[in-house]
Amino acid sequence: MRDQMWTSLGEKIEPVWAPEREDAVRAAIARRATRRRAVVRTAIAVASTGMIAVGGFALVRWQSAGPVAAPSVSSARAVPNPAPAGGAGETVTVTRLSSDTVLAPLPDRNGRGFALRAGGARFSVPHDPDRPFVVAAGDVTIEDLGTTFTVRYLSADRLKIAVEDGRVRVRAGGSDSEVPAGATLEVPISPVVEGPRGEPQPAAVAASSWRPLAERGQYEEARRALRKAGPSAVRDDTADLLLAADAARLSGHPAEAVPYLERVLRGHARDPRAGLAAFTLGRVLLDELGRPSEAVDAFALARSSGGPLAEDALAREVEALSRAGDVTRSRELALLYRRLYPNGRRAKAVSRFGGLD
C-alpha cells in the first residue's frame, strides 16, 4: 500500500538532536526572550514617557484655557476684549493658580479689571492705552503696560507680583513703582472696605475719599469724588498726582489729567516717577488730545530720564515728530533709535514714522 509506504518513509525523517544542538537552541531561546523583554520594557518606557508628555501638555493647555472655577467668578477665563487694539481678537487670559483663589471682575471695566481677594492668579493682557487692565488686591493696584504677570497673596498682609513679559505699574502705600519683565515685587497690603457680599461699595467710599476708588480702578467714581472735593483734595506729591491723573484719563477725561502730570514734572522733576509722568503726559497729548508738538517735549523729557521707558519714549517721540510734521528731526531720531536699539521691539513703527522704509 502506498499510504503505508509514506508513513514508513516519514519515520525515516529524523533530525539529529544531539545535546550540543539542544543546548544551542536553548541558548538562542534564552537570548530571544531577553531581547524581547528589553524591547517590551523599552516600549513601555517610551509609551509611558509619551503619555506623561501628552498628559502634561494637556494639563498646561487646560490650565491656560480653562482655570478652576470658583463660585465668586464664573467668567474669569479668556475674557474677550470688547474693543481690541487694531481690531484683532485679542483676549485677556486669566488663570487661577490655586483652588482657593477668589477673583471678582471689577464693575464697569468690561473685563479689563479684577479684584483679587485670595490666592493667586496669572494675567496675560494685551495692552490697551485707552483702557488699561488693572488688578486690585486690597489697597494695592497693579496696572498693565502690555504684559503677562502673576499676582499672589503670600499672606493676608503681603502680596507678590511677578512679571513674565512687558511691565506693570504697582501702586501701593501711596507710591508707584514699575516692575519690568523677569522681576518680582513684594508689597504690604491692607484690606479695603468691602460690603457684606465682598463686593466693593463705591458709593460708600466715594463720600469720604476719591483715593480708594481710584486705587481699586473705579476711575469714574474717583473722578466724580475728586471734582466734588475740589483741587485741594489732591496732595502735592507724586503718587497722589499720578493717581489723580489716572482717575481723570482712565475715566475718559484725558484733558483733566494734563495739569496733574505737569505738576509732577514741574514740582517733582527729581522724583524717580517723573519719567513715567512725562511718558504718560506724552501719550495723553499724542494719542488722546491730538497735540503732537507738545507730546514731543514730553517724550523727550521721558527719554532723558532714562530707565526702561527710554526706548519707548524715543519711539513715541519719533511718532510725535512725524505727526507734528517735523520730518527731518523725526528721521534723525529714527536713525538714533536704530543705532541704540538695533533689535528694538518698536523698530518697525519707528522706521515707518521716521521715513526709513
Binding site: R2, W6, L9, G10, V25, I29, A33
Partner: protein, 181 residues
C-alpha cells in the same frame, strides 16, 4: 485503506502525571526533539529552518507556561503551535517564491533512509511544494506523521470534515504523480 496511525498525541509517555506543574526546562528536554522532528517532516527542510521553528515554538511556550495545564496536554499544544508556525512559514516561502528565485534548501534529514528512499523523499517534497499549504500540512500530518484525522483537524485548527477534505485533495494529487499501486 487508511494507514495505521502512530497516535503519538494520544499516547503520552507513561511517566507523565496529569495536572502536574510544567517547567520550561523539563518541557524543552522532553519535547524539543519531538517538535524538531514534526517541523522537519512538515517543512521538508534541513536543520537551520527547523531550529528556527523550534525556537519560535518554545519561545511562545515560555510565555504561555501558565496556560499549559500539564505535560500530557503540553504535547498536543506543542503539536498545534508547531503546525501553525510551519504553515505560516510555508505560506511566506510560497509568497517569496513569486518574486525571488527559490533558494535551494537543505535536504530533509533522513539518516536511516536508503538512496532510493532519499530520492523518493526529494520527489515527494517537490510535489508537496506545489500543493496549497493547508492541504500539504494536513496530508503531511496524516501520512508522514501518522496522526489520526481528529488530531489533524485539531492541529490545523479546522473541522474534521475540512481536515478530511484537505487530506483527500492532497492525496489525490500525490497518487496521480506516484501512482496508487
Amino acid at each position: 485503506m487508511s494507514p495505521k496511525p502512530h497516535l503519538r498525541l494520544a499516547s503520552p509517555a507513561p511517566d507523565l502525571v496529569a495536572g502536574g506543574p510544567v517547567e520550561f526546562n523539563e518541557l524543552f528536554a522532553r519535547y524539543g526533539q519531538y517538535v524538531a522532528r514534526l517541523a522537519s517532516r512538515l517543512l521538508g527542510s534541513g536543520d537551520t529552518e527547523v531550529d528556527d521553528v523550534v525556537q519560535d515554538v518554545f519561545l511562545l511556550a515560555s510565555r504561555r507556561l501558565p496556560a499549559i495545564v500539564d505535560m500530557i496536554q503540553a504535547r498536543g499544544w506543542l503539536a498545534t503551535v508547531t503546525t501553525r508556525l510551519v504553515a505560516r512559514r510555508l505560506r511566506r516561502r510560497r509568497f517569496r517564491s513569486l518574486f525571488l528565485a527559490s533558494p535551494r534548501g537543505q535536504e530533509v534529514p533522513a539518516p536511516g533512509a536508503t538512496p532510493e528512499q532519499r530520492a523518493l523523499l526529494r520527489r515527494l517534497y517537490e510535489v508537496l511544494e506545489g500543493l496549497p499549504t493547508a492541504e500539504r500540512v494536513a496530508w503531511s500530518l496524516r501520512y508522514l506523521e501518522g496522526e489520526p484525522l481528529d488530531i489533524v483537524a485539531a492541529a490545523c485548527g479546522c473541522s474534521l470534515a475540512t481536515a478530511k477534505r484537505r487530506v483527500s485533495a492532497a492525496k489525490k494529487t500525490i497518487d496521480e504523480v506516484f501512482g496508487n499501486a
